[in-house]
């Protein structure tokens, strides 16, 4: 699933061509294909309560700009860039009013793996929740880069393009973020023992 700078897939290209031939319905296939993944990622990075609106806006903007999509990156990367920019400007306009506690309430669902036994699933769930809590102890810059890299599995180059910083900065920032996450996890675990 690693996201690198790559050209658009043949499937997506066909749908894009159909959409450009003035069939907006065809665009629905792209929405179907990417909505869950995009929503999940945006909900991790920004206020989950805004994520649905942001994702919907991003798809509409993508539709509007489809004729200028060059196809040199995957459609998802291009869409993600639009969604990310939309979310950033959304956040700028609507100053966050969410407290950390509220954010904790809106963490995602831990979906059971069909191969997991119930006790394994519970253990994984608990671990995932700890990671989630630890992530919320990080600053936004570190949280963002970790989600983009570890969750979205974007390449350094794609992240650099998205965040508009040099690749070298991504490398050092990502490492710092990982070290901070490690400390934050220890902090969360330590708190549980107290």
């Amino acid at each position: 699933m690693k996201e690198t700078i790559q050209s658009v897939s043949q499937d997506d290209l066909e749908i894009i061509k159909a959409t450009l031939n003035e069939s907006s319905q065809a665009f629905g296939e792209l929405v179907e294909k990417y909505q869950a993944r995009l929503y999940n990622s945006i909900a991790h990075l920004f206020d989950p309560r805004d994520a649905e609106d942001i994702v919907q806006d991003a798809f509409v903007k993508a539709f509007q700009k489809l004729s200028i999509f060059r196809g040199t990156s995957s459609f998802y990367t291009w869409l993600y860039r639009i969604a990310f920019n939309t979310a950033v400007s959304y956040q700028r306009r609507h100053k966050p009013t969410t407290s950390l506690d509220q954010k904790k309430e809106t963490i995602g669902d831990y979906l059971p793996d069909k191969h997991d036994r119930p006790d394994e699933w519970l253990e994984k769930k608990e671990r995932a929740e700890k990671i989630q809590q630890a992530l919320h102890l990080l600053n936004e810059e570190h949280r963002t880069i970790l989600i983009l890299r570890e969750y979205e599995e974007m390449s350094y180059e794609t992240i650099a393009e998205l965040l508009k910083v040099p690749v070298g900065t991504i490398r050092s920032r990502l490492h710092r973020a990982r070290i901070c996450l490690k400390d934050a996890i220890n902090q969360v675990l330590h708190k549980d023992f107290e």
Binding site: S24, V60, K65, I68, F69
Partner: protein, 386 residues
């Protein structure tokens, strides 16, 4: 190299982001140094944990809302660029059509908004509707000059009854108002909805437009020079394009109204929309106003969207002008961030406004609709200052 920089190599090694030489050096280092091995293991553990994060599940399928929103937008939007969201790379794409990887669309609008290819017949027809919208705007602007004489005329118009709009409006533009009316009635003022840059775009796009029956109806008023009385931001600000009002008028599809709190604007609108059955009134709800913002005044606003056939909408606008106590806003254009999120309902209204705003600013009006936003203070004590 300091320790952190050194450790970064292990992170990048884990991610497969090192070049061949660095990769080889780092692999050797990890092999020889137990501390490096520990760090690599820790980072691998973190990576695995991150990938087990809980999933945020999308509750609603967005296909239908997205397609509905797209369908509600003008056909030209597909070939337009959302100016505020243009990223440098997109500008580059737009100015380099030869590199376009996909099949060519019917027309590509460049960053400078010039059409790359001539419009085909059907598409040209689509552009007729913006011309109609412009024509409506010209007529509306004629009624909203800040010139005292024009204001008096506007006041006079407010004396007219609903349903007499066409003839009555014509008459009102020449009929001097009574002093009593000036003192007791609000004035109509029209607000531009588009920043200057978008107006330029509109000008460029509309130069080739053919006329329409509605355009012909409003042309005499524009030629009479009344429109040029507008002040900034209502003025025809582009000095080089003042030769002909009908050619230089920007698209104005959004107008702001204020109404006294005691006016039941919702039922007024519903009555009017029933009379003009092709116009739909969409109530976007109430939105509290941010007192720190300069727009309008500190009050709550009821927001409506009028949607319909241009001519029917025009008739409805004219009828609205005759609703006593209803005035065009003199304030800045409505902005989505004038409506802070304080409840889910307002959030939804804010999003709708934001989308409407985008449609208006970034694209031509849809072939079959004109949109208006009406703001109505919901509190008497906080009604806008005039």
């Amino acid at each position: 190299m300091d320790e952190n920089k050194h450790e970064e190599l292990i992170s990048a090694y884990l991610d497969g982001e090192l070049d061949a030489a660095e990769h080889e050096r780092t692999a050797k280092w990890i092999e020889e140094d137990p501390r490096a091995q520990n760090l690599l293991q820790e980072l691998q553990g973190l990576q695995a944990a991150m990938r087990e994060l809980p999933r945020h599940r999308l509750e609603n399928n967005l296909i239908q809302p997205v397609l509905e929103q797209i369908d509600a937008q003008p056909a030209e939007a597909l070939y337009s660029m959302a100016a505020a969201d243009i990223q440098p790379e997109n500008i580059m794409y737009a100015t380099a059509p030869a590199q376009h990887a996909l099949s060519e669309p019917a027309a590509i609008v460049h960053a400078n908004f010039e059409l790359e290819k001539p419009l085909d017949h059907d598409r040209r027809r689509l552009y007729l509707w913006p011309a109609v919208a412009i024509a409506v705007a010209v007529l509306l602007m004629v009624f909203s000059s800040r010139d005292p004489v024009e204001e008096d005329r506007s006041v006079a118009r407010s004396d007219l009854g609903v349903g007499q709009e066409s003839a009555a409006s014509q008459e009102a533009t020449t009929r001097p108002p009574s002093t009593a009316a000036i003192e007791s009635k609000p004035q109509f003022k029209l607000q531009s909805a588009e920043p200057r840059s978008q107006r330029r775009m509109s000008l460029e796009k509309t130069n080739d437009l053919a006329g329409s029956s509605l355009a012909e109806r409003v042309a005499p008023a524009a030629e009479a020079g009344e429109a040029s009385e507008f002040n900034e931001p209502l003025a025809f600000a582009d000095q080089d394009s003042q030769a002909s009002a009908s050619e230089t008028t920007p698209l104005r599809t959004t107008y702001l109204f204020n109404a006294s709190p005691e006016i039941d604007i919702k039922s007024q609108l519903e009555t009017l929309s029933r009379e003009s059955s092709e116009v739909k009134v969409i109530d976007l709800g109430t939105a509290p106003h941010d007192a720190s913002s300069s727009a309008v005044a500190a009050a709550d606003y009821r927001v409506f969207d009028l949607y319909g056939d241009p001519e029917a909408t025009y008739m409805m606008i004219e009828a609205l002008k005759n609703v006593s106590g209803l005035t065009f806003s003199t304030r800045k254009r409505l902005r989505s961030d004038d409506f802070p999120i304080k409840s889910e309902k307002n959030k939804r209204a804010g999003t709708k406004i934001e989308r409407l705003e985008k449609n208006q600013v970034f694209a031509q009006p849809a072939p079959d609709c004109i949109r208006l936003i009406i703001i109505v203070p919901t509190s008497r004590s906080q009604s806008p200052k005039r």
